[in-house]
């Protein structure tokens, strides 16, 4: 399970000079939160945002230096929040049956990606920044808001249009994918121009890769082999975390093999021996059929969220992954590393270490 460092200020926090609505309601959920360093406390109502937490109307979402998050709204819209960003869900009204309503968001700083849902199809989405008001219709949009002066740059990646208006009366409309317009402090929106490929790459990078990603991987994968005792009494040992293609294996907790799979077509071979195997797809998050596993390899699978599939050995035997014997399982209840049957077999990138 991934923890977040996204903080929520209280429900009545003002944003960009607009007062929060009187009756906040649930508008969506936190659909993704990156795992980085711990957050900080501002007031008593601050909470660390986690995947699955409800998002409420009037709520402010802030990220720290390495935080990333995605908010999923009830109408299907999503907002990806980059690091050092802040937004408030000003207004959300949605009639599910009629599929009409309005979504209003105030973004005070940071980089965001907005993917329009049902409300956006009608042009009922507005985004306020310190320097501009954006009307988004059926679009996927990147929005950058400078923390210094609120200068705003809008890039339409796809869609019908983005209407930009400023307090001074300036107005522009972006109707072509890949075009950007900028609004400086107290300025008018610039004529839309095609965004450079390099700039697009940089913005996407800010929205998919937090500075703490590498640290997160280190934190979840043990650097050294670990010994764990299964519920059935079997003992597992693991080699160094190995990479088979893009598959990483490690031990976490009690009697579990954590398989992190990054390739949808990646096949994982599990078996009691080199000739008694079952090959299964290891799509991230796939629920592997428990009876098949129990019969073939003497292990049952417990699916988790995110990218992890957890296996729990329930019988004796070896559990091999990708042709390389990694985990000899025996009844020896030794709290240490075992060398029983721990010979590497195939062409894995790492061998079992005694």
């Amino acid at each position: 399970m991934l923890r977040g460092s996204i903080l929520l200020l209280s429900l009545i926090a003002p944003a960009c000079g607009f007062a929060a609505p009187e009756s906040p309601g649930r508008v969506g959920v936190a659909a993704a939160v990156s795992a980085v360093a711990e957050g900080w406390l501002h007031v008593d109502e601050v909470r660390s945002l986690e995947v699955g937490h409800d998002i409420w109307q009037g709520e402010r979402v802030e990220t720290n230096d390495a935080g990333l998050a995605q908010l999923l709204f009830i109408d299907g819209s999503t907002v990806t929040v980059g690091n050092r960003a802040s937004l408030v869900v000003d207004d959300f009204v949605y009639d599910v049956s009629a599929q009409h309503g309005h979504l209003g968001i105030a973004m005070s700083k940071g980089v965001f990606r907005f993917v329009g849902g049902r409300l956006s199809k009608d042009g009922s989405v507005t985004v306020r920044t310190p320097t501009a008001l954006l009307g988004i219709r059926g679009a996927i949009v990147l929005i950058e808001v400078s923390p210094e002066d609120g200068a705003t740059t809008v890039t339409m990646l796809y869609g019908d249009h983005v209407q930009i208006t400023t307090p001074s009366g300036g107005s522009q409309m972006i109707r072509r994918a890949g075009f950007s317009s900028s609004v400086a402090h107290d300025g008018a929106p610039s004529a839309p121009r095609r965004i450079e490929a390099g700039r697009l790459h940089d913005l996407e990078g800010l929205l998919t890769r937090s500075p703490g990603t590498a640290a997160r991987k280190q934190a979840t994968l043990p650097a050294k082999p670990a010994v764990a005792r299964s519920e059935s009494g079997a003992t597992l040992t693991a080699a160094q975390p190995v990479a088979i293609g893009v598959t990483e294996v490690a031990i976490i907790g009690q009697a579990a093999i954590v398989l992190e799979s990054a390739v949808t077509e990646s096949a994982v071979t599990l078996g009691k021996s080199s000739t008694d195997t079952a090959t299964l797809s290891a799509v991230a998050g796939t629920l592997i059929e428990t009876p098949l596993l129990s019969q073939a390899v003497g292990a049952s699978a417990v699916a988790t969220d995110s990218s992890f599939v957890v296996f729990k050995p329930v019988a004796t035997g070896q559990v091999t992954i990708g042709g390389t014997v990694l985990l000899p399982v025996s009844q020896t209840s030794t709290a240490g590393r075992t060398t029983t049957g721990s010979s590497p077999q195939a062409t894995g990138t790492s061998a079992v270490k005694p």
Binding site: M1, G28, V29, A30, A32, V33, G52, A69, Q70, L72, I74, G76, S77, T78, T80, R113, V115, G116, G117, R137, G138, I140, L157, Y158, G159, D160, H161, M173, I174, R175, R176, A177, G178, F179, A191, P192, R193, R194, A197, L200, H201, E204, L207, T208, R209, T213, V246, E260, A262, V263, T264, E265, V283, A284, G285, T286, L287, D305, S306, S307
Partner: protein, 439 residues
């Protein structure tokens, strides 16, 4: 004056159809949309569940909600930005939305990661397709043979000359024949890369037939249109194209007519799956007299054409089109002046056949009805009868893939022309087969 009224009626029909269809489609619920809603609800209840997210992505893609699929897939990258399969799916989705910059970004992201051979091929092919789509030149070439039961469009039975019934003979009689034909079209689009989406579009079409026996029916036809296109309205799908038109027609191995004029085409989306297009053309035709037709210049004059085309994509690979066309021909002589009303419904179905990529086989069905009353009698034919034609036709076509860009087409059609003047009553069965190369 009457023509302007007809154009106004067309525009009225256009706006009415647009409103009615948009309202009807808003309340439509299909099995795919129900499945999408269910998948979305499941994902909302457990947004960290990758399996449910992938199921939603699949449902959204099937239902055509590509933006929803993009939003969900982007979330997976927050947990792990180095998922090549996710980058490939995002690239394909952005590619389908014609967001080429984002598609290229994700294809290149995928290529920077460890890939298995099929994934690498998918990414590299995607980049090649993006580069090809940026090519301003496109077109097709079609080469084939046709068999017609009545290649001369000769009357089925008798004809009239000077009010007297005669039996058509020689070139004026109905005659079956084979021909070989060539059709080529070349399109060039110069994008000025401005925010208004301004581009200059030029299209050239060439068509030529070589009859096996009735050489006097050989046809050569060329049409050139060129002019600017702008984005109008609030969506990039709404465009206005103004153009100049030039046509030349050769008949029986000799020049027959030349045409020049101007046109305008306004295309607008009613719904993500419905597009309407209104075309208006004003043309001036000039004919050349010949020994076999010394009064061809009687047909000289202006022509105004209004077309309304409604396209409905009811599911990926399937399109229903209806074309309504009104023509007002103002020839020099009244016996060549006519108005024509034409209705052409067409259905195109792409499906997965015995070979080739998914949905690379295509079946098309087209029907036509036309009514064409003339302004006055032709005294040469019969001074007592004013010509009025009714045309009916039905055709089917099957297109099969052979290789990348190369396909075969087989078509069959039946045309029946009824007329108050016997000279113009005829039927024609047509069978054609051809090879087509698209580039």
């Amino acid at each position: 004056m009457r023509m302007y009224i007809y154009v106004f009626l067309f525009i009225f029909v256009f706006f009415t159809a647009r409103s009615v269809l948009a309202a009807a489609l808003e309340t439509e619920e299909t099995p795919r949309s129900v499945a999408l809603q269910q998948a979305f609800s499941a994902m909302m209840a457990d947004p960290g569940n990758t399996r449910l997210t992938i199921l939603y992505v699949d449902a959204a893609t099937a239902a055509g909600d590509l933006e929803g699929a993009i939003g969900a897939l982007s979330r997976l990258l927050l947990a792990n930005p180095d998922l090549p399969a996710i980058h490939l799916r995002l690239a394909a989705l952005y590619h389908a939305l014609h967001s080429n910059g984002m598609a290229e970004l994700h294809y290149r992201q995928a290529l920077s990661l460890p890939l298995d051979p099929p994934q690498r091929q998918e990414a590299e092919h995607g980049l090649i397709e993006l580069a090809a789509s940026a090519n301003p030149i496109s077109g097709l070439v079609q080469l084939g043979v046709t068999r017609q039961s009545n290649a001369t469009a000769g009357p089925d039975s008798q004809a009239r000359i000077g009010g007297t019934e005669v039996t058509p003979q020689g070139k004026f009689a109905a005659r079956p024949d084979w021909n070989s034909f060539l059709y080529a079209s070349l399109n060039h689009s110069l994008d000025f890369d401005d925010s208004a989406g301004t581009r200059w579009d030029t299209a050239l079409s060439l068509y030529a037939t070589l009859q096996q026996h009735a050489a006097y029916e050989n046809l050569t036809y060329g049409k050139l249109t060129s002019g600017p296109t702008w984005l109008v309205g609030e969506t990039p799908a709404e465009t206005l194209h103004l153009y100049a038109v030039a046509e030349v027609l050769g008949w029986g191995n000799a020049p027959f007519s030349t045409t020049g004029g101007i046109g305008a085409a306004w295309e607008t989306p009613i719904d993500p799956d419905i597009t309407s297009r209104l075309e208006l053309e004003a043309l001036d035709r000039s004919y050349d007299n010949r020994a076999t037709y010394p009064t061809a210049t009687d047909e000289n004059g202006g022509t105004a054409i209004a077309r309304y085309i409604l396209s409905y994509r009811w599911q990926p690979g399937d399109v229903a089109i209806i074309r309504l066309q009104a023509t007002d021909d103002i020839a020099q002589k009244s016996d060549w002046r006519y108005r024509e009303w034409r209705v052409v419904p067409t259905m195109v179905h792409n499906f997965t056949g015995l070979w080739g990529a998914d949905s690379s086989w295509q079946f098309a069905l087209e029907l036509q009805w036309a009514w064409r009353p003339y302004a006055g009698p032709n005294p040469t034919i019969d001074p007592a009868i004013t010509r009025s034609d009714r045309e009916r036709s039905a055709g089917i076509q099957l297109q099969l893939p052979i290789a990348e860009g190369l396909s075969s087409r087989t078509a069959a059609s039946y045309l029946q022309e009824d007329s108050t003047v016997e000279n113009f009553r005829y039927t024609n069965w047509v069978m054609a087969t051809s090879l087509q190369l698209v580039f």
